[in-house]
């Protein structure tokens, strides 16, 4: 294996060794959401006029778990290595900033996809899931995980303590995820909140992902692809620039 492949492998092995916490935990949480909201709302809500609420909820929950775990992987790995001091082992190596980026984001994508697949695997027990356009599912799954992996890299570099990272997660990632249409179609919102939702890149990740299942979405999947792709480019560029400058790691 080359340098970046070793780092990617190490980062994957890092979360795999604690899979109970990093994979089983998030899948269980998603299932609890599905059971509670599905049970409470299944009889009362139909989305897009024809889709049952539980079927509608599954892709949203899977994508939400995927995004949150991709973010958690790169950010928690970096902050833990910084706080424990073992980041020095990487800093002493000839690995380039691009190597770091590819390995950390790559591992985040792997964890995001594994958790997302885990949510589907369990959700199959409770409901039927259709796959109208699987390629869109894969594209938005991978791009979303890469975007959140990059954002996690930025957060991990910026944070100096675990509570700062928790603040980033609780006050930025969580609200943007919950307000992105995981639990509802934004067409059910008042016009003002529909407009606000359109400013949230998370909305496009969820909406485009969901299109792959139902062939129906709030906005065109091409628009979502453009917004998600554009956001990914911007966030990645920031992450790469921070790594290149040695932001908060090389004084």
């Amino acid at each position: 294996m080359t340098g970046w492949q070793t780092l990617l492998y190490k980062e994957v092995l890092r979360f795999w060794k604690v899979a109970f916490q990093t994979i089983a935990g998030p899948v269980l949480t998603a299932m609890l959401y599905l059971l509670i909201f599905g049970h409470a709302l299944e009889a009362h809500v139909k989305v897009y006029g024809q889709v049952s609420y539980t079927a509608f909820l599954v892709p949203g929950l899977a994508m939400m778990s995927l995004l949150q775990n991709a973010f958690a992987n790169s950010s928690s790995s970096l902050i833990a290595s910084k706080v424990m001091g073992n980041l020095v082992f990487l800093m002493l190596t000839p690995l380039s900033y691009m190597n770091w980026f590819v390995a950390y984001v790559g591992a985040a994508v792997v964890r995001g996809l594994v958790v997302g697949l885990g949510v589907f695997a369990v959700a199959f027990v409770f409901t039927d899931i259709s796959f109208v356009a699987p390629l869109w599912i894969v594209v938005f799954g991978v791009l979303g995980a890469a975007l959140m992996g990059s954002l996690g890299l930025i957060a991990g570099l910026w944070a100096e303590k675990f509570d700062q990272l928790a603040a980033f997660q609780n006050f930025i990632v969580m609200p943007m995820t919950f307000l992105s249409g995981v639990f509802y179609s934004i067409h059910s919102l008042p016009p003002v909140w529909q407009t606000v939702s359109h400013l949230n890149p998370f909305f496009y990740m969820i909406d485009g992902f969901r299109y792959g299942f139902f062939g129906i979405s709030d906005v065109s999947p091409w628009l979502s692809l453009g917004v998600v792709g554009g956001t990914l480019v911007v966030v990645s560029a920031v992450a790469v620039a921070l790594l290149r400058s040695g932001y908060k790691i090389r004084s």
């Binding site: 424990m84 001091g85 990487l90 800093m91 000839p94 004084s251």
Partner: protein, 314 residues
């Protein structure tokens, strides 16, 4: 081509500590070359700039000005090649709690692009007394064992230049022996070694050449043997039960009851003993010994504060 070259390296930190225009000068135009195959010691009190200098060498910190190269590779412009040539044992006892010893060493090999490295990893484990700990999680190891793994991690890619930043701080005699035997062997085989330590007897025994840093400047740089010659050649050592008068205490090195005076000749020795007698004190267990590196070190550190020509700067 020198193994390591520091050319007028300065490092300023924004800090209230130095209070000079809001910056603290951790290194002030440090220049020195370490030749290939040398066992070189970098000494200095806490805060002298040793670790800062090594951090700049390793690419962990960036110099404010000046150039640093490893075997001709600039550590900033040609960092990948420079880092391939360097094996650095960090001062802090750090580890990755997710992995066992062998995994940690395999990963470190991989980062340097070294494949199929298990034979060398086994040799390292064996030489450092870690063979039976290869499968142990890093968390389960004692401090001394963790220190050995740090050394193994630094050497896993067979670097021609080895940097040890206080590798024996807080470790037992056995590890020191194992470590120095192994490092001395690598040095004999051609590796260059740069060592910082507070254990001056180790530096005296191991290092062919020594630089002393004080407040970010090189205050002495010479062969160990020359440095030893340059100091007062003898030391008067005795024990007393009461406190020395201040005028004498200022000239002495005092450790509990033990008092030591640097002395060039018999007259000086007689003078010190007479002064002690006149102060109404009784010197016990009197002995005269040859000066060691600790004496040189203390002499250099107390000498003219801002001169880089303190003792035998060569």
């Amino acid at each position: 081509m020198p193994a390591i070259s520091f050319q007028s390296v300065s490092k300023a930190y924004p800090s209230p500590r130095g209070a000079q225009n809001g910056t603290f000068l951790a290194l002030d135009r440090v220049s020195l070359d370490i030749e290939q195959g040398e066992f070189f010691g970098l000494l200095g009190p806490n805060g002298a700039g040793k670790t800062t200098l090594i951090s700049i060498l390793a690419g962990l910190t960036r110099a404010t000005s000046g150039k640093v190269s490893v075997l001709g590779h600039d550590v900033a412009l040609d960092y990948a090649q420079a880092r391939r040539c360097l094996g650095v044992v960090p001062q802090e006892l750090v580890f990755d709690p997710f992995f066992n010893v062998r995994e940690a060493l395999r990963f470190q090999s991989g980062y340097f692009g070294v494949k199929h490295n298990d034979d060398w990893i086994d040799e390292l484990l064996d030489s450092l007394g870690l063979a039976d700990k290869a499968g142990a999680n890093m968390r389960a190891l004692s401090g001394g064992m963790k220190r050995r793994v740090l050394v193994a991690q630094a050497l896993v890619h067979k670097p021609p230049v080895i940097v040890l930043d206080e590798p024996t701080a807080g470790v037992d005699v056995e590890l020191r022996q194992t470590l120095w035997q192994f490092i001395a062997r690598l040095n004999k085989q051609g590796s260059t070694v740069l060592l910082t330590t507070h254990y001056l007897e180790e530096a005296e025994a191991l290092c062919g050449r020594i630089a002393m840093l004080k407040t970010g400047r090189v205050v002495a740089l010479n062969h160990t043997s020359e440095l030893l010659k340059s100091a007062s050649s003898n030391v008067l050592r005795f024990k007393i039960d009461s406190e020395l008068p201040k005028v004498l205490a200022d000239q002495a090195r005092i450790t509990g009851r033990i008092v030591q005076f640097p002395a060039h000749d018999a007259h000086e020795i007689e003078r010190y003993l007479a002064a002690v007698r006149e102060a109404g004190l009784v010197a016990q267990d009197v002995e005269i010994r040859k000066a060691d590196l600790e004496d040189v070190f203390l002499q250099v550190m107390t000498q003219n504060k801002d001169s880089v020509h303190g003792v035998g700067l060569a």
